[in-house]
């Protein structure tokens, strides 16, 4: 064993040396990666036959093409892995934690690389299933330009467990032709205007609904809380979380959101218990599809929502976006700074190959081309400050919203448990309220539960 290991190291470092010599001129990143790789190759075999990558979301043609291009680059930049087949598995967002856990506990089909939502990374890093990438990052040329806040989100006790891949924000989608026909001249900047415009549109276009109050999409609902000056939960200097759902400002946001269904009647009961894509784990049948089919006049989503719109959607040339309004305007509500990271599973026997593929996927050129494909923002400061989407009408609202991002407490260690794992605290609260439960007791119960779960991981 010891001998075989040693020869593997020798082979790898020989390959690395060869690459360093021949690859100098081609690109800086590949040579630095090769040296970075050889340092960690002691624990890995030289060239795995397959490398499994879990990507989140639906497998759409543009994404598949992009991924194939990246794999080709990976094979040329890292000839030692030229025969390594890269297997991409598409995991619906709603199933991700369950699929990770099932893979780990069964020991079968464990990915080498996985994409994670940036809110997942702290939880998964703390649970110890991700490999530390700290030393790899130190020797990677791309690392220095990564947005610092995004890297911090992936760092726990000084070790970085994932690399930011893209950032994304949500905004309200609408159709310029419908706004014109309904006589709405400017996009709403307050809650009252939003509800009034939704009602106007609904009256002008019978059979449609104005604005869906989806319950299981806290990433979007958070903007209403923040837009009223409230918080979901705050962390004290001692690290203890205090839930703020019963704060009057937060309560105002909850009341408004529920009233979209109960009072303004611009959201049908169908969206209660659904995510913006439909039932949990499904990728169709929800507000996203309904907006595409013209059954909804507005809805909240990121620009990536375009990819899952049905084929027979309304003319996307008329689709535009505005930032989620705050309670009293005129400034937009802060928006959840979402995004995805790339990480290597600790159990993967192919640490070196996995990291090398991540370098290709996430280098400035590829991450920018990927981001533009889906309406994301690349994780590189220089790319963002140069303006990723100049003159793009649809992206204007998102670009504006991106200036006002917030992540906490959606990146708290136990947030995934509280919001889409063992507990669906805020979704279930909204659902109960829309179904007519008494306001004070429901919100108070959710508040206690949220504080307990954020602090201890269970409701106590």
């Amino acid at each position: 064993m010891g001998l075989r290991k040693r020869s593997a190291v020798l082979a790898a470092s020989a390959a690395a040396a060869a690459l360093a010599i021949t690859g100098c001129s081609s690109s800086g990143s590949s040579s630095s990666s090769a040296t970075g790789g050889s340092s960690s190759s002691a624990s890995t075999s030289a060239a795995p036959s397959t490398l499994t990558v879990w990507r989140m979301g639906a497998s759409v043609p543009e994404q598949v093409t992009w991924m194939n291009g990246v794999v080709d680059q990976f094979h040329t930049q890292f000839p030692q892995f030229a025969k390594t087949q890269v297997k991409v598995v598409w995991v619906p967002w709603g199933n991700r934690t369950q699929d990770w856990n099932n893979a780990l506990s069964s020991g079968k089909n464990i990915p080498d690389i996985t994409e994670l939502g940036n809110t997942d990374t702290p939880t998964e890093a703390a649970s110890g299933i991700l490999a530390s990438l700290t030393s790899n990052l130190k020797s990677w040329s791309g690392a220095s330009d990564l947005v610092k806040g995004m890297v911090d989100n992936d760092t726990l006790n000084g070790e970085t467990y994932a690399v930011p891949w893209f950032g994304g924000v949500r905004a309200v989608w609408y159709r310029t032709d419908q706004f014109k026909a309904a006589g709405i001249t400017s996009t709403p900047t307050t809650w009252a205007e939003l509800a009034a415009d939704a009602q106007k549109l609904q009256a002008k276009f019978p059979g449609t609904y104005g604005f869906p109050a989806v319950t299981n999409d806290t990433n979007a609902f958070a903007s209403f809380i923040w837009g009223a000056g409230g918080q979901i939960a705050t962390q004290g200097s001692d690290g203890k979380w205090t839930a703020s759902l019963t704060d009057p400002k937060t309560e105002a946001a909850i009341k408004y959101y529920v009233s979209l269904h109960t009072t303004f009647k611009v959201s049908p009961s169908k969206y209660i218990g659904q995510t913006e894509l439909g039932n949990t784990g499904a990728t169709s049948g929800g507000a996203n599809e309904d907006f595409g089919l013209g059954k909804l006049d507005m809805y909240i989503d990121g620009p990536w929502g375009k990819a899952t719109m049905p084929k027979n959607s309304v003319d996307m040339a008329n689709v535009s976006s505005f930032p989620i309004p705050s309670q009293n305007g005129p400034d937009a509500a802060p928006v959840f700074a979402g995004g995805s990271d790339l990480a290597v599973f600790k159990t993967s026997p192919n640490q070196e190959a996995a990291w090398d593929l991540i370098q290709v996927m996430d280098n400035p050129t590829n991450s920018t081309s990927f981001a533009k494909l889906a309406g994301f923002f690349p994780p590189y400061s220089s790319a963002i400050s140069n303006g990723v989407y100049p003159g793009d009408q649809f992206m204007a609202g998102f670009a504006k919203a991106a200036l006002n991002g917030q992540t906490a407490p959606l990146n708290a260690k136990n947030w995934a448990t509280a919001d889409n794992g063992q507990y669906l605290i805020i979704p279930t609260m909204l659902k109960k309220l829309m179904n007519g439960a008494s306001f004070d007791s429901t919100v108070a119960a959710a508040n206690t539960q949220l504080a307990n779960v954020l602090n201890t991981g269970n409701q106590g």
């Binding site: 649970s127 299933i129 209660i272 949990t280 448990t417 794992g421 063992q422």
Partner: protein, 349 residues
């Protein structure tokens, strides 16, 4: 059941039957011969002397059951007293014995009590409904002519044979708020029939009552054929003279059912009742699809509650094992109650 009874006087015990068969296979030269026996023959004598044959014959089946059911059940029992989760499986943290910790946490979880309530109420509705519909269809089948009976029972068994997921998805589509035929029909019905435009786009999955109404229809639809066919089989064993005598004495169908059919088929009904309770208490697949789990945690029954405790972030296999144990315990209590009642009535022999 009734058939077994009629055969009983001439029937020998299973052990007797087996030894009889073994004797038959032996060479005709009888009488104990201490010498000249092969090892095989000696073993056969030893087995016979100690009456071991029935147990030996039970070994293959017991081994399969032990491997597939008893061993997992024992493990579940073990996990239910441990903090067994993902970290323990992948070896990141040691497995710790936590006594009744899981049980006390479950009993203090409002979600457990909600799901228990839903499970019990649901079973209270579905079990009698399935039994009633199934029995009625069984009685109908007994009266129908041969061709018609074949047609009806085949159609019914198709419902029974439909895979649970397919059936659930079909029902979810029927009740879909967007163009589902149920909402459409209800919205076209006149208001004095309970219809009206408020049914258009009515969502059946986002609160417990509508979701379990759909589930009730689905489970009765899937469950009644088995009851009907079993009841029919039972009816065929009742001698025709009994019903004839009842008719001559002036008993109508109602009276005849309760004084002749039901008492004779009571053991059949008891078994069907038990099976229905077990099935409806533990229904998972259909509930998963119809309630659009896991997005609707306030609509869980015990099966869903257990499943999502085990498999959502962070996985709590120990806790889920404890729930499984509680579920088993509840069903065990019901079963024991049934067996006791049966013994008292002298039905179990």
């Amino acid at each position: 059941m009734v058939k077994t009874e009629s055969r009983r006087p001439g029937n020998s015990s299973p052990a007797g039957a087996v030894t009889g068969r073994t004797r038959g296979r032996r060479p005709p030269s009888s009488g104990p011969r201490p010498t000249g026996l092969t090892a095989r023959q000696r073993a056969a004598i030893w087995v016979r002397r100690h009456h071991l044959a029935p147990y030996l014959l039970l070994i293959p089946a017991t081994a399969v059951i032990a491997w597939l059911i008893l061993w997992p059940a024992a493990q579940i029992g073990l996990f239910s007293f441990q903090n067994y989760g993902l970290m323990q499986i992948i070896g990141a943290q040691p497995t710790q014995w936590i006594g009744l910790g899981n049980y006390s946490q479950i009993l203090h979880d409002p979600e457990f009590w909600l799901s228990l309530r839903i499970t019990v109420l649901f079973s209270l509705v579905v079990v009698p409904l399935t039994l009633t519909v199934g029995t009625l269809v069984g009685l109908l089948l007994a009266r129908l002519g041969r061709k018609m009976a074949t047609f009806v029972s085949t159609s019914a068994l198709l419902a029974w044979g439909t895979p649970a997921v397919s059936a659930s998805v079909i029902f979810a589509w029927l009740t879909d708020p967007d163009g589902g035929i149920v909402d459409w029909s209800l919205s076209k019905l006149p208001s004095w029939l309970g219809g009206g435009p408020h049914w258009a786009e009515f969502s059946w999955q986002n609160s417990a009552l509508p979701a379990y109404t759909v589930l009730t229809v689905l489970l009765v639809w899937m469950g009644f054929p088995f009851i009907a066919v079993t009841v029919l089989a039972g009816l065929r064993t009742i001698p025709a003279e009994l019903h004839e005598a009842a008719r001559i004495d002036g008993a109508g169908p109602w009276r005849s059912f309760w004084t002749v059919t039901f008492p004779l088929l009571r053991p059949v009904f008891m078994v069907l009742l038990m099976l229905s309770i077990i099935w409806d208490f533990g229904v998972f697949t259909q509930a998963f699809v119809i309630t659009a789990a896991p997005g609707n945690r306030d609509e869980f029954n015990l099966g869903l509650y257990e499943y999502f405790k085990a498999f959502t972030q962070p996985p709590a296999y120990g806790m889920a094992s404890a729930i499984a144990f509680i579920l088993t315990l509840i069903l065990l209590i019901i079963t024991v109650g049934y067996v006791r009642a049966s013994v008292k009535q002298g039905e179990v022999r």
